[in-house]
């Protein structure tokens, strides 16, 4: 090779590497978020769109999608998909409400006195038990998804399409096909209530609702796991090329089960937020088709359904973009069908831009 052509080659690859940088990519998504937000800020009258109240609402509204998107990001990077996320959210709300109802209903008289005492003495205990049960059931559901994918060697799309119906059926069965109303309000109801713009001044020290703090902590942990741990490397490797991962000694099956389990766990967390969001009831019909918005958030955030690509930060931005489109459209008085068409279009454009970026690379 002549010196001349060598220079050519290195120049070309050097340019490519700038575009490959994850930060440039994330910056691009962030710009898209800013542009979309600014558009609505400009169009909605009276500066209402960038009021503190609205900003807080955007955060609150996007939290459920964003939390479930944490798990979905892991699944998508590993080359899979989880269509049962919406059903797991519903199942979680039902389990929480069911546990909160336990002392009122099904407990024998003697035990009821005991538990009554506990509940009176430790008012935070029962909600904590309910929250734990909800997340535990959700995590188990995710683990079953993973086991089915790995053991039956079926494509994740089919497995989770099936469990999407089964988890919702479980939720309906447990709730007797009705909404479950817990006997009294607990702190679980208020984890998504406004803080800074709340009438209750004693909440403002929290800055953000506790549920959103939870999301932020969970997102940070998920991002660290993905970028800085062996599990994270393995997830990327499996999604990029499962055969290579196996050749390199990655425990492919075990890792996949863990990934679906984590997806269930995060869907469970999302379920906890949803429980608070729908004012503290267990609703077996809630969260229908949420999985599609969650997948959309991941894809807008740079996730590839072919696996091997995606980022937590990107998915968070994706969830925000979808929420802003919904709320902005709503405040402009757009009809529902226009909002939905808009979001559909944005998803296609986002993926198209991503493909074009890829073609420029290869």
């Amino acid at each position: 090779m002549t010196a001349d052509s060598m220079n050519d080659a290195s120049r070309k690859t050097a340019r490519a590497s700038i575009w490959q940088s994850g930060w440039v990519h994330t910056l691009g998504q962030f710009m898209a978020l800013v542009v979309i937000f600014s558009l609505f800020a400009f169009m909605v009258e009276g500066g209402k769109f960038y009021s503190l109240r609205n900003l807080e609402n955007v955060a609150r509204q996007s939290a459920v999608y964003a939390t479930a998107a944490l798990g979905m990001t892991l699944v998508v990077i590993a080359g899979g998909i989880d269509l049962s996320a919406g059903s797991i959210i519903a199942l979680t709300t039902v389990v929480i409400a069911w546990v909160l109802n336990l002392p009122a209903n099904d407990v024998p008289a003697a035990a009821a006195r005991e538990s009554r005492y506990l509940i009176d003495q430790w008012p935070a205990l029962l909600p904590l038990l309910a929250l734990g049960s909800g997340i535990l059931v959700a995590t188990a559901a995710g683990a079953i998804n993973g086991l089915l994918v790995v053991r039956l060697r079926l494509v994740p799309f089919i497995v989770t399409l099936g469990t999407m119906m089964i988890w919702r059926a479980l939720a309906k069965g447990l709730a007797n096909e009705k909404d479950i109303y817990p006997p009294e309000e607990t702190w679980l109801n208020s984890i998504m209530d406004p803080t800074l713009t709340s009438r209750d001044a004693s909440r403002s020290w929290m800055l953000l609702p506790p549920g959103i703090w939870m999301l932020i902590v969970a997102a940070a942990i998920a991002a660290i796991v993905l970028r800085y741990t062996r599990l994270g490397r393995h997830i990327f490797a499996i999604g990029s090329n499962e055969n290579t991962a196996r050749l390199c000694g990655v425990p492919v099956e075990r890792t996949k089960i863990v990934v679906y389990m984590l997806a269930g766990f995060f869907a469970g967390l999302a379920g906890v937020l949803q429980f608070a969001f729908i004012s503290g009831i267990g609703q077996p019909t809630t969260g229908i088709s949420y999985e599609l918005f969650v997948i959309a958030a991941v894809v807008i955030g740079g996730g590839s359904l072919l696996g091997g690509e995606g980022s937590i930060l990107g998915s968070m931005i994706g969830a925000l973009i979808i929420t802003i489109l919904y709320m902005g459209g709503h405040q402009l008085g757009w009809r529902n069908w226009r909002q939905e068409a808009m979001i559909g279009g944005i998803i296609i454009v986002a993926v198209l831009l991503d493909r074009i970026r890829h073609r420029a690379l290869d």
Partner: protein, 506 residues
């Protein structure tokens, strides 16, 4: 107007680059009507890229083509096909569920309005088959019930039905018997009579001598020689293809006594093949396995590495039998390079660093953490040592040339610091420079350097390229139809004997 001296096809200054790789560099090629041009060159020399340019599958960066004196700039494969370029690839491109006639007239079906005129279709397909002397092939037979040779005939009939002016045959004889080859050659000669220009790509130089009028040799994307086939000795063509003397390509340092046995296999049998295979790998020795495609060599290696279930027999690694999985093999100091770089060998969407460090992520951070900075530093060491051409270890593997990709796949074993290297076709489809580097590396690893604290390693190499095996190995065993012959010192073998053993006629 097409005169006697107008070439059927002319390519001038065709260049093409993929990222850092120069696939074609100013290639000039002429093909006269009724001429058979043999296009030869090693894997990765640029033959298939050149043919993709001709077929419109990729656009050249520079250069132009003329077809019968007219500027020819195909927009896509369909466009090229309609202008008279017919390609017949190694992997046949027929629709297996459709009939012979449907395949022959695919895309040019005679119609009446929206309906297909079946009688006309049958007539035209039969005419095309008759024209190439294959009138006895039934037009309504589904193609998946035909033999490979018959399927090839259907492809050629398709080219005739399209009135193709240029026919490209890519390794057409690799899966044919000698009788079928003779029939194919008769067919090629009759097409030549009709004035079709034929490009014949083959690794079998004896066939090239038999059928072609002229040869053209590509090496590293450049046309390095051409001329009439008659009177040109095969050795001259080989010298042009390789471009250097064989001795300097295969370094072979003097090695001490063979070290301990690190892998021992006894009567290993898998579901189909291998059958009852036994071998020993020792430190300081390179063992080669020769054989035909499908003889069971790859299955043997995969069984050793835990990628394929074993029916019976014993595999001892470092004296232990026990669980067989890639994970446990890496832990035992065994690493493997796959024959299929894209499907298995590398995650090409990930970075160079990711690919190199994947089997051994410990030590790249505290506990189970992996710090990207340390990961890149660890990879950079091998990138330098092995002169892998990339912008940085953080570059995606997809942007690298084949040779550099393969070096990444091998660097992985060095990073994991294995004692046993299992290499399946380690130089398939890569440039000569990278090949030479890989040969040198195999030699260095097998020799070891006790002074520098690097013990000699054991290497198992599978290759279909016999000069390579004879060049790098200490011992060679031949596998034929699932049975592994005894390993013998390389001095006791030559290409001819290896070939005889591979076809089971030792």
């Amino acid at each position: 107007m097409v005169g006697v001296f107008t070439p059927r096809l002319e390519m001038r200054g065709v260049s093409k680059r993929f990222g850092a790789t120069r696939a074609l560099h100013r290639v000039d090629l002429q093909l006269r009507p009724g001429e058979v041009l043999a296009l030869v060159g090693e894997n990765g020399a640029g033959k298939s890229t050149l043919m993709k340019v001709l077929s419109g599958a990729i656009a050249p960066d520079e250069g132009q083509m003329w077809l019968d004196g007219e500027l020819f700039r195909p927009r896509n494969p369909l466009d090229a096909r309609q202008r008279g370029i017919a390609m017949i690839y190694q992997e046949l491109s027929l629709a297996p569920h459709l009939s012979v006639m449907e395949n022959i007239l695919l895309g040019i079906e005679p119609t009446a309005g929206p309906l297909i005129r079946w009688s006309e279709m049958r007539r035209r397909a039969a005419a095309a088959l008759r024209e190439i002397g294959m009138g006895d092939l039934r037009p309504d037979m589904p193609v998946n019930r035909l033999s490979i040779a018959q399927q090839q005939i259907v492809e050629i009939a398709r080219a005739v039905a399209l009135e193709s002016r240029v026919l490209v045959l890519d390794e057409p004889t690799s899966s044919l018997s000698r009788g079928d080859i003779d029939r194919l050659f008769a067919l090629i000669r009759s097409l030549r009579q009709r004035g079709v220009g034929i490009v014949y790509i083959s690794h079998f130089l004896e066939e090239v001598q038999e059928i072609s009028d002229r040869y053209a040799v590509l090496r590293d994307g450049e046309l390095v020689g051409e001329g009439p086939t008659a009177g040109t000795p095969v050795e001259k063509i080989v010298a042009l293809m390789v471009g250097r003397e064989v001795e300097e390509l295969y370094p072979h340092s003097t090695r001490g006594d063979a070290g301990e046995v690190v892998v021992e296999i006894r009567d290993l049998t898998c579901a189909d093949k291998p059958r009852s295979a036994s071998l020993r790998l020792r430190r300081g020795r390179v063992l080669g396995i020769a054989g035909l495609m499908g003889a069971g060599r790859t299955e043997l290696m995969r069984a050793i590495f835990g990628l394929q279930p074993v029916t019976s027999g014993e595999i001892r690694v470092g004296g232990y039998t026990g669980t067989r999985s890639p994970m446990s093999r890496w832990a035992q100091g065994v690493g493997m390079v796959s024959e299929d770089r894209k499907q298995e060998g590398l995650a090409i969407g990930l970075t160079v660093a990711d690919n190199i460090t994947l089997p051994r992520l410990d030590g790249l951070g505290p506990a189970r953490f992996v710090l990207p900075s340390r990961e890149r530093a660890a990879a950079a060491k091998w990138v330098n040592r092995f002169s892998i051409k990339c912008a940085s270890p953080a570059q995606r593997v997809a942007a690298l040339s084949g040779g550099n990709q393969q070096k990444v796949a091998i660097a992985r074993l060095l990073h994991a610091d294995v004692d046993v290297l299992l290499l399946d076709e380690p130089t398939r489809g890569i440039d000569v420079g990278s090949k030479a580097q890989i040969y040198r590396l195999i030699d260095e690893l097998a020799a070891g350097d006790p002074a520098a604290g690097r013990p000699a390693k054991a290497v198992l190499v599978i290759s279909s390229y016999l000069p390579e095996l004879l060049g790098v190995c200490d011992e060679i065993a031949v596998m034929a139809k699932g049975r592994l012959g005894p390993a013998r010192p390389v001095a006791q073998w030559n290409e001819h004997q290896l070939m005889l053993a591979a076809i089971g006629k030792e």
